[in-house]
């Protein structure tokens, strides 16, 4: 059994999705949808444990050896990502029942769960696979499912958001596919390990294929940048996250960009190799300034938002900037920072969106101004939001601090003190947007005429606080985050060479 874990990781949610359609019964569907992410989490945990013990696992689907067959290849980096993705899915699950989305969703819950599980399967598939085309397929599964999830938002504008997300996401997918195609043309393989072995030949300057490889990389990079919402390709994100059901926003914010990030890192470091990407392609020349601009522009935009979910969405744009900064610093420390932030940001943004979901449930609004009085009336939710906000700021003792520590350390190691200062300075903007919310929640009085609100039930508080608690826990104990991330960064840096 245990040798089939890699495929089970993907197959379980993939099959559970359609199963929901068949079951239809609300309770059964709910039970299944709750169980599957937990199962995925268990599998991912076991995988991570195995990988830590024995190193990378290669699983050949159907027994066909690569490069002919499809290989699932689990190493520290993707085991780590899968743990995050399935953990978030498990935690978000209690939020998904009907009360989140439109009336249609409430009537047809099983459809919702089916799509959700498909999205989960897609995300896990991208992480697990060792085959580029397979990755593309899962990327599209995940994306299509995401578009539908976004479309389920309460307002009609959700449809527009989903549509725009669809268009842009498809452009990204197409770029990605073009990149794969070009690579296949040059090397005749789609297997990642194989690609890594065969690419150096056409990559070397002067050979006829060198330009094609360049173009292939450019397509891959831009395509993934779109999926990852790298500034200025981030525009789908605020709209999608703002209009999707809050729990979906939480799930997507915590997982989908993370997986794209993983894929980018995999392409950059495993396929092409740091030396090539940074020396020949000079990825950092473009990505570094873009990351920094993202940090500032995203945070600044967040400050001026009047809608809580859009605020969080713009904050995500900025936080993605930190992650890509980690890549573009082109060092193990930097990559560690990026990966740690991947994990930490998943926790905090997931937690924050869940808090926003709690607010949304009671306030029936996500306008910041409507949060007046929430500090007193919904103390636990607000406390969760504040703690998550502190993590975003990077206050020591929270996970955000750990990420920032590595990023700044990486910058200083390379003597880029200006970058270091910019990183810390940008987190001040986070103070500003977090505190805008805190002030309203704690100091503004709720309008006399507004409908009464009270704290959300524990069923929702517990998952929120699991994520928020985790941001604090992983702010103090970092073996599981920074430790694994450092090892994963090492693996990525060295692997497949």
């Amino acid at each position: 059994m245990s040798e089939h874990l890699p495929i089970l990781q993907v197959v379980v949610p993939l099959l559970a999705g359609p199963l929901c359609l068949l079951l239809r019964h609300r309770l059964l569907v709910r039970g299944l949808a709750t169980a599957v992410p937990l199962a995925c989490l268990t599998i991912a945990g076991l995988l991570l444990h195995r990988v830590q013990q024995v190193g990378a696992i290669s699983y050949h689907i159907g027994g066909w050896a690569p490069p002919l067959g499809i290989e699932y290849r689990i190493d520290l980096a993707n085991a780590y990502v899968m743990v995050i993705v399935s953990a978030i899915a498990a935690v978000v699950m209690p939020f998904l029942p009907g009360h989140m989305g439109s009336a249609m969703v409430r009537r047809r819950e099983h459809l919702f769960y089916a799509i959700f599980l498909l999205a989960l399967a897609g995300l896990l598939g991208i992480s697990a696979t060792g085959d580029m085309f397979n990755a593309f397929v899962f990327l599209e599964i995940a994306s299509l499912a995401s578009y539908s999830l976004v479309a389920l938002g309460r307002h009609r504008r959700a449809l527009v958001a989903a549509y725009s997300y669809l268009i842009i996401g498809t452009i990204g997918g197409t770029f990605f596919l073009l990149g794969i195609g070009l690579m296949y043309q040059m090397t005749g393989t789609l297997n990642m390990v194989d690609l890594a072995h065969r690419l150096p030949e056409p990559m070397s300057p002067g050979t006829p294929g060198s330009r094609t490889v360049l173009v292939a990389f450019a397509f891959l990079a831009v395509g993934l940048s779109i999926k990852l919402a790298v500034f200025p390709l981030h525009q789908w994100l605020p709209r999608a996250y703002a209009h999707a059901p809050s729990a979906v926003s939480a799930f997507l914010a915590a997982t989908s960009t993370k997986v794209s990030y993983y894929l980018l890192v995999r392409v950059v470091f495993s396929l092409f190799g740091a030396a090539y990407v940074f020396d020949a392609l000079k990825l950092d020349r473009l990505l570094l300034p873009l990351s920094i601009v993202a940090m500032f522009a995203g945070s600044t935009a967040a400050i001026f938002q009047t809608d809580l979910k859009r605020l969080l969405a713009y904050s995500s744009v900025a936080q993605i900037g930190y992650m890509t900064l980690g890549v573009s610093l082109a060092s193990v420390t930097g990559l560690t920072g990026g990966l740690v932030h991947l994990f930490n940001h998943a926790l905090m943004k997931g937690g924050l969106f869940l808090a926003a979901a709690c607010y949304g449930m009671r306030l029936r609004s996500s306008r910041i101004a409507d949060l007046a009085g929430a500090g007193r009336l919904m103390p636990w939710t607000t406390a969760a939001f504040v703690t998550g906000g502190l993590a975003l700021i990077g206050v020591p003792g929270t996970a955000g601090f750990v990420s920032k520590w590595y990023l700044v350390l990486a910058a200083l190691e390379q003597g880029r003190w200006l970058v270091a200062v910019l990183v810390v300075a940008s987190s001040l903007l986070a103070v500003a947007y977090v505190w805008r919310v805190v002030e309203v929640a704690y100091f503004a009085d709720r309008d006399a005429g507004a409908h009464p609100i009270k704290e959300v039930p524990p069923l929702l508080l517990v998952p929120t606080w699991i994520l928020i608690g985790a941001t604090v826990y992983f702010g103090l104990r970092t073996e599981l985050t920074a430790g694994v991330a450092e090892a994963a960064a090492g693996v990525l840096w060295e692997s497949l060479r």
Binding site: S164, I167, I168, I171, G172, F175, L214, V215, F217, A218, F219, A221, V222, S225, I226, P232, L233, Q235, W236, P238, R239, A280, L281, K282, L283, R285, L286, A297, T300, A301, I303, F304, Q305, T306, D307, R310, Y314
Partner: protein, 562 residues
């Protein structure tokens, strides 16, 4: 008990005064200085009490002949002043006066610089309440100025002590001499309290603004403590001679034209300090003895004069020469005591000033200091004017102001009478005083020549006064302010600071306005760009993102070709 610095009984005991009332308090007020005096008398001669603090070897109590002179007179005047102040209502003045006296006494027995500094500052902190205790804005402001200057002296002493410690590795308070930056700072610290020229104005500024009894307390301790400190640390320092000579001279001019009689006395006090400073500067045994003796005599007769003026103020409510006159009719005993004080300060034979001041003059003459001796001669003539004649004449005689008041209360009379008795007693029989002095005394004050020349000086000066006054040439008493060096810090500096502040405030306001406007502009423009409907705050159309994707792709390619 011998470990307790002399004077501490006063300091600690006085703190209990607010707790008791009425007779008991009055009893305590007098009993405390008496007990403290008894304590001091019981101390063995040449006592030295050591202590260690922060690793420094300190000597909180050092009894020797020099400190004992001050110990005696400080205690005597404390007792007299306590009696004088007996009927003052409220505890403030009593507490302040007695703690002040106690601090000054303890300072006189300090054997190291830290102890000296502590008590030096304590005299400042305690005495300022004697000024503040008098109602009115003038007193409050004068008190604040006084405190600042006194503490300035203290911090200079602190800095000087630190430097001295670094230079010598010792904190002993002994002969220092002007030997380095540390001792210069200490010299300046002492100089402030001793009212050296240009450092003197706090004295004339503050003393006249204190309460009736407060001025008496003040006149006795602060400046004389400074004289003690100078005598201890800087005997024979030549620069003191011109400083002292100047001090004897310039206050005279102010004393002549000053209308506030207590301020006249303050100038006169300054002039008397000059004699003592000169004595220290000459530095011979005779001159130092003279300084000690003069300090002793001076404390008593100056207290007496201030008591008399205080009694006048107490009864009439004013102390302006222009508003007084003819009081001998209603306050004859006070007038008599005042005249005793005046004769003493003028150095009239058979009064205490004669037997002490002449020692300093003789020391100057023996050292053949011609210019100095002439200066002191002129100064002595000046003393005749302001303290010998002006004080009693304008208060008690001159033209009758028509005021008819009661004689001073019994406790004031008792204190003044006792002080006057001491003045006369020492003048007639100076031996007990001479026995106290630090060095053996072979000086004989009463020689024919000495008596004759002194009388000549005094009587002819008085004759000159009579001539001037009767011919109407004596400066009239005019209510006025006479500019002195305090103008620099009461008028010049505040005006300059106020002007600078106005300028700065205007600049600051302008800068704040501009900054605020800039901040608003920035926020507005940021909001325009990043707000929910701004370029970067509102999702772009899909096409734009596609365009950007193309741009980025191109950028990657171009970069990699470069």
């Amino acid at each position: 008990m011998s470990g307790l610095p002399p004077g501490m009984i006063l300091v600690l005991g006085a703190l209990a005064l607010p707790l008791v009332r009425g007779r008991l308090r009055q009893l305590l007020v007098v009993a405390l200085p008496v007990a403290s005096y008894a304590h001091m008398l019981a101390l063995p001669a040449d006592l030295s009490v050591g202590a260690e603090l922060f690793g420094y070897a300190l000597e909180p109590v050092r009894v020797d002949r020099l400190s004992l002179v001050w110990g005696h007179v400080f205690h005597i005047v404390a007792i007299l002043t306590a009696i004088y102040a007996l009927r003052v209502k409220g505890a403030t003045e009593h507490v302040a006066g007695l703690t002040y006296a106690g601090s000054a006494i303890a300072a006189a027995f300090a054997g190291d610089l830290i102890t000296l500094f502590v008590f030096w500052e304590l005299t400042a902190v305690t005495s300022v309440f004697l000024i503040w205790a008098r109602p009115g804005a003038r007193s409050r402001r004068a008190g604040l100025r006084y405190l600042v200057i006194q503490v300035a002296s203290g911090v200079l002493l602190l800095a000087g002590s630190v430097l001295t410690y670094l230079e010598r590795g010792s904190l002993a308070f002994d002969h220092l001499g002007l030997s380095g930056p540390g001792s210069v700072l200490i010299f300046l610290a002492f100089g402030i309290k001793a009212a050296f020229p240009l450092l003197h104005n706090w004295l004339q500024d503050a003393y006249p603004e204190a309460t009736v009894a407060g001025t008496v307390f003040l006149s006795a301790f602060t400046t004389k403590l400074a004289i003690y400190a100078l005598a201890r640390a800087f005997p024979g320092t030549a620069i003191l001679i011109p400083i002292g000579a100047l001090m004897t001279l310039f206050p005279i001019v102010y004393a002549v034209i000053e209308n506030d009689l207590r301020r006249v006395l303050a100038y006169s006090l300054n002039n008397q300090l000059g004699f003592m400073v000169v004595g220290i500067g000459i530095g011979t045994e005779l001159s130092l003895n003279g300084t000690a003796a003069h300090a002793f005599a001076h404390i008593i007769y100056k207290a007496l004069l201030f008591m008399a003026m205080g009694a006048v103020l107490h009864r009439t409510g004013t102390i302006k020469a222009s508003a007084l006159g003819g009081l001998y009719k209603s306050m004859p005993l006070t007038a008599a005591c005042c005249i005793v004080g005046s004769l003493s300060i003028s150095g009239f034979p058979l009064f205490s000033g004669f037997v002490s001041k002449s020692m300093i003059l003789s020391a100057g003459a023996e050292a053949h200091m011609l210019v100095l001796s002439l200066a002191l001669l002129v100064a002595s003539a000046g003393v005749v004017d302001h303290s010998g004649i002006k004080i009693p004449f304008f208060a008690f005689f001159a033209h009758d102001s028509g005021r008819r008041v009661e004689e001073a209360p019994w406790n004031m009379l008792l204190a003044m009478g006792a002080a006057a008795a001491i003045c006369i007693g020492l003048g007639v029989y100076p031996q007990p005083l001479y026995d106290l002095l630090p060095y053996p005394v072979s000086y004989v004050p009463y020689t024919t020549a000495h008596v004759v020349t002194s009388l000549e000086l005094l009587l002819f000066a008085a004759l000159a006064f009579a001539f001037l006054y009767r011919s109407g040439r004596y400066p009239a008493e005019i209510e006025s302010v006479n500019l002195d060096f305090d103008w620099t810090y009461r008028r010049l500096a505040p005006r300059a600071v106020a002007a600078a502040r106005r300028r700065l405030a205007a600049l600051h306001a302008a800068a704040a306005r501009r900054l605020d406007a800039a901040r608003r502009r920035l926020l507005r423009s940021l909001e325009r760009t990043y707000g929910p409907s701004g370029l970067l705050g509102e999702p772009w159309p899909t096409g734009t993102t596609a365009l950007w994707a193309a741009v980025l792709l191109a950028a990657y390619l171009i970069l990699s070709y470069l």
